[in-house]
């Protein structure tokens, strides 16, 4: 990553799962204007045509874009939504202070001001961040948006009793009054200590500790303004008041909703949004196979979850060149891996863990997740290629054909004192057929060297809280291996690695994603990196951490995920956004 910040001190507690590599800095960055739409795009339908450029660019307005979701939306409330597609989609009806640039490829990871005129202006050694709001921005009812609305939006998102699904970045960093519980419970408490609104256009954030990457927070949906008078708390998701180009028309939770144009939105105040369609129609809880079929037939424009085609569709799409030409196959910043728990004997022995690393059949792993197109590319270490600091290392080559190296594995077993192998369990999330297939694949390949695995499915909802992620339970029940996965909230080394490898996030009460990596040196490296302000020095540390964890053999990397995205028929301005790991939903239009 070339974008960097040269801001001074960033002393940051290790609690945060966030990125240090913020964009811009010093307020010097020029917001990219709408004219910056890449010219290289073409309408020629070919495989991966929308990966790095705009496919089918057009400025034609009108039409209704149809989206469908195989699952249910977690929430439409900006304070309470934590799905990537939701953060992508929410920009249609909400404007946060800052946003990722709606542009293809690498460019999409740039932050650009949205509701704010510029990116954040730090002061007090990056402990204070100031944003100036654009003039003339209004809510859907015509009320002008003021900095107080932004402040209210952030404050209400702090109430985790009302909004338990959301993130805690602001709770953890803002210099809040002691025991502040959000505007509902702590009514009338003066919060100027944390957020000041000196005038209607200015908002100032005060942090407990300096943090140079605050703009990443400012792009979170929580900074979308919410009018206090219209706030209905947990029920606000039934009708969110729009600040963007579209507003809610009809919203039936569990079924779907409609967006129509918001006539109070002024294109002049918004350089990022094209607002081409006349409206959006979103259906939720649709059969996933049905979504694919409708996408291919043109009845549907976007599979909103953005996780790619269903297995049944793969066969159809990949074998038909005409269909394949309408798909894109990006590698996303997500690692599917298996935790090797050093607390479970005999995996407390490094060589036994190494035996697992060698014996695993990587091709089977890949196939379990959907093969090279919808599954991913075989991972040889933790960091996906898209994350800064990635190095091509392969400490445990899985043989020539990637089906596992039996010889090396047996050597490792002998070194570990278990020459005939051993028995342990592998856990996975029962509702995830791919994880089931992975567990079965590992069972197969490890059996070749005498490591007998017993499959232990657990309910997804309790996987981390009660079972695999609860150290006591995992140890008592000999969950030696646990099928796992991790993707960062945005592409950045710290955000990617910290929740995965920092041993201090492991709680005895359960619930952490890191199940197996317990290495004080890794923790030290993480702290070192979070204090390192020089990107050139910091990025190699990510690589070092990667190498160290691999040497410890606490993680068996499976694949770096890829998804096979289907471009809807007749949709204009389709492009893949690295920041979201799916198509950009802001720019699409209809032919």
């Amino acid at each position: 990553m070339k974008r960097k910040t040269t801001l001074g001190v960033t002393a940051l507690g290790a609690v945060l799962a966030l990125g240090l590599s913020a964009c811009g800095g010093g307020g010097a960055a020029t917001p990219s204007q709408s004219g910056s739409a890449p010219a290289g795009g073409g309408a020629k339908a070919e495989f991966n045509a929308a990966l790095t450029q705009v496919f089918n660019p057009s400025d034609k307005k009108g039409g209704i874009l149809k989206f469908a979701n195989a699952g249910d939306w977690d929430s439409l409330d900006p304070a309470d939504t934590y799905y990537g597609y939701s953060w992508n989609f929410i920009r249609l009806y909400g404007r946060s202070l800052v946003m990722f640039k709606p542009a293809p490829g690498k460019e999409s990871t740039q932050l650009v001001p949205d509701l704010a005129e510029t990116l954040g202006v730090p002061s007090d050694d990056a402990k204070t961040w100031t944003y100036k709001l654009r003039a003339g921005v209004k809510f859907e009812d015509g009320t002008p948006i003021t900095s107080k609305d932004v402040k209210y939006g952030v404050l209400r998102s702090l109430d985790k009793e009302v909004f338990p699904d959301g993130y805690t970045y602001f709770n953890d960093t803002l210099d809040l009054p002691k025991d502040y519980k959000g505007p509902y419970k702590s009514k009338g408490v003066n919060t100027d200590k944390a957020i000041e609104t000196p005038d209607d256009q200015t908002i100032v954030f005060h942090l407990k500790q300096a943090y140079s990457g605050f703009d990443y927070f400012a792009q979170l949906p929580a900074t979308i303004p919410v009018p206090e008078a219209k706030d209905t708390g947990a029920k606000y998701k039934e009708h969110v008041i729009s600040s963007g180009p579209y507003k809610f028309d009809k919203n039936e939770i569990g079924k779907g909703f409609n967006l129509v144009r918001n006539d109070q939105w002024d294109a002049a105040s918004d350089p990022n949004r094209k607002a081409l369609p006349d409206g959006y129609e979103v259906t939720t809880n649709v059969n996933a196979d049905d979504i694919d079929n409708r996408l291919l037939s043109g009845d549907l424009h976007v599979d909103i979850a953005g996780t790619g085609a269903q297995p049944a569709t793969l066969g159809r799409v990949l074998t038909d060149p005409a269909l394949k030409a309408n798909t894109d196959n990006p590698t996303i910043t997500r690692l599917w891996y298996t935790s090797i728990n050093g607390n479970v004997k005999p995996l407390d022995n490094l060589d036994c863990r190494k035996a697992v690393e060698y014996a695993a059949d990587k091709v089977a792993y890949q196939t379990a997740y959907g093969g090279e197109f919808s599954g991913g590319q075989i991972a040889t270490s933790l960091l996906p290629p898209g994350i800064p600091g990635h190095q091509d290392i392969n400490p445990y080559p899985a043989g020539a054909d990637n089906h596992g190296d039996v010889t090396k594995a047996k050597e490792a077993l002998t070194a570990c004192g278990q020459p005939n192998g051993f028995e342990t369990n592998i856990s996975y999330r029962a509702e995830r057929p791919k994880e089931k297939a992975t567990a079965e694949a590992l069972q197969q390949s490890l059996a070749k060297v005498g490591i007998k695995l017993t499959l232990k499915p657990f309910p997804q909802a309790d996987y981390f809280a009660l079972y695999a992620g609860k150290p006591g339970y995992a140890k008592d029940n000999k969950l030696g291996l646990a099928v796992n996965g991790w993707g960062a909230d945005w592409p950045d080394g710290y955000g990617f690695l910290q929740q995965m490898v920092d041993s201090r996030v492991i709680r005895e009460t359960g619930g952490s994603s890191n199940i197996s990596v317990r290495d004080p040196e890794v923790d030290k490296l993480l702290d070192q990196a979070s204090l390192e302000t020089d990107v050139a020095k910091r990025e190699p540390i990510w690589g070092q951490i990667d190498q160290k964890v691999m040497d410890d053999a606490y993680i068996l990397p499976g694949i770096w995920a890829k998804s096979l995205l289907i471009r809807g028929k007749g949709v204009t301005n389709v492009f893949y956004s690295e920041a979201t790991g799916m198509y950009d939903y802001l720019s699409m239009g209809l032919q």
């Binding site: 196979d289 269903q310 297995p311 049944a312 569709t313 793969l314 066969g315 159809r316 990949l318 074998t319 091709v363 089977a364 890949q366 196939t367 379990a368 959907g370 093969g371 090279e372 197109f373 029962a430 509702e431 057929p433 089931k436 297939a437 567990a439 079965e440 694949a441 069972q443 197969q444 017993t454 499959l455 232990k456 499915p457 657990f458 309910p459 029940n477």
Partner: protein
């Protein structure tokens, strides 16, 4: 009623076969219900076919390792060389051939034939044991309710009402879903099988119970029970020596008809992902995997047909048994 013709105790109206077949020799033998039933069953080609298939399936289940060793591959072994890494489907579409009689699964290329054969084990084992449990509980409680009457009857009958009001499938899913992976000193397949047997068997007993209660009620009023009672027979004697033999026919019929229901039940739970844990092959589980690959029809065809044929065979046999043992039900 006067019976002018004392014809050595044979009830003419009740057993027409005796009328048809009797009087050939001078000594007229009373035929036992079993003999008559067997005679009728022998003539019922459809039921015999069902019985044949059932026996075949039981043999398949019992000798699964032998059959698979001879005709297939270990059921959990991967054959990913047969799978296209792009589409995850078998490279030639199905993988069907001499090596893999029913083809292979997409993704990991496991031999479908072997998995179907091993699936029969789980399916039949659970269905049989669950039926046994239902019949045991149902018969004991049903006979108690019918024979003892009074408050015992009303308590048991109310209990049956409550059980029948439970949303059975929802409840079974919920229960199968929240039971942890090792409990009651069991784990793995043993635990899951026991759990499923318990859930399926325990929630089905009221059906048997109601039938048994009704049968007992009508038996209680019959003369021979009165006769036994007047001779001083006590409750247990009457129940075990007089009632149970007469209940054997309905027990057999409804047990046979309950088995296919339980097979479907087990398959449904496996289909919904709360059955026996993978990679152990179950027909319902395979069907549920096949949904994701509905463009590969052979994958859903074989498990679906396995369930269908098994259930059909048991239904045919059950219908035949009912016709043979209970002529009034024809």
């Amino acid at each position: 009623m006067t019976a002018p013709l004392d014809v050595s105790g044979t009830e003419l109206e009740a057993a027409p076969e005796a009328v048809l077949a009797g009087a050939q020799g001078k000594a007229i033998q009373g035929r036992s219900l079993g003999q008559i039933a067997w005679m009728r069953l022998k003539r019922d080609k459809v039921a015999l076919t069902g019985a044949g298939v059932v026996i075949f399936l039981i043999l398949v289940a019992v000798f699964a390792p032998l059959i698979v060793g001879w005709l297939g591959h270990p059921p959990n072994d991967f054959n990913q060389d047969l799978i296209s890494s792009e589409t995850l489907a078998p490279k030639d579409g199905t993988g069907i051939g001499w090596d893999h009689l029913f083809g292979v699964e997409p993704v990991n290329g496991r031999d479908l034939f072997s998995r179907i054969v091993y699936g029969a084990r789980i399916s039949l084992l659970i269905a049989f044991l669950a039926t046994l449990l239902s019949v045991a509980i149902g018969t004991i409680l049903g006979v108690m309710a019918g024979y003892l009457g009074g408050w015992v009857d009303s308590v048991i009958s109310k209990a049956m009402d409550v059980f029948l009001a439970f949303p059975l499938l929802v409840f079974a899913i919920a229960l199968a879903g929240i039971v942890p992976d090792s409990a009651f000193g069991l784990s793995g397949d043993a635990l899951r099988v026991s759990l499923l047997v318990f859930i399926i068997g325990f929630f089905n007993w009221p059906y048997i119970g109601r039938i048994m209660r009704g049968q007992t009620l009508s038996l209680r009023e019959r003369e021979f029970i009165d006769a036994a009672r007047s001779l001083g027979a006590r409750g247990p004697y009457i129940i075990f020596r007089e009632m149970l033999p007469n209940l054997m026919a309905p027990i057999l019929i409804y047990a046979t008809l309950l088995i296919p229901t339980n097979i479907v039940f087990e398959a449904a739970l496996s289909f919904l992902g709360v059955g026996v844990r993978p990679p152990t092959a179950t027909w319902g589980g395979m069907l549920s995997d096949a949904v994701r690959f509905y463009t590969i029809p052979h994958f859903m065809f074989f498990p679906g047909m396995a369930i269908f044929i098994t259930v059909l065979a048991f239904n045919l046999l059950g219908d035949g048994l009912r016709d043979a043992l209970d002529p009034r039900a024809r």
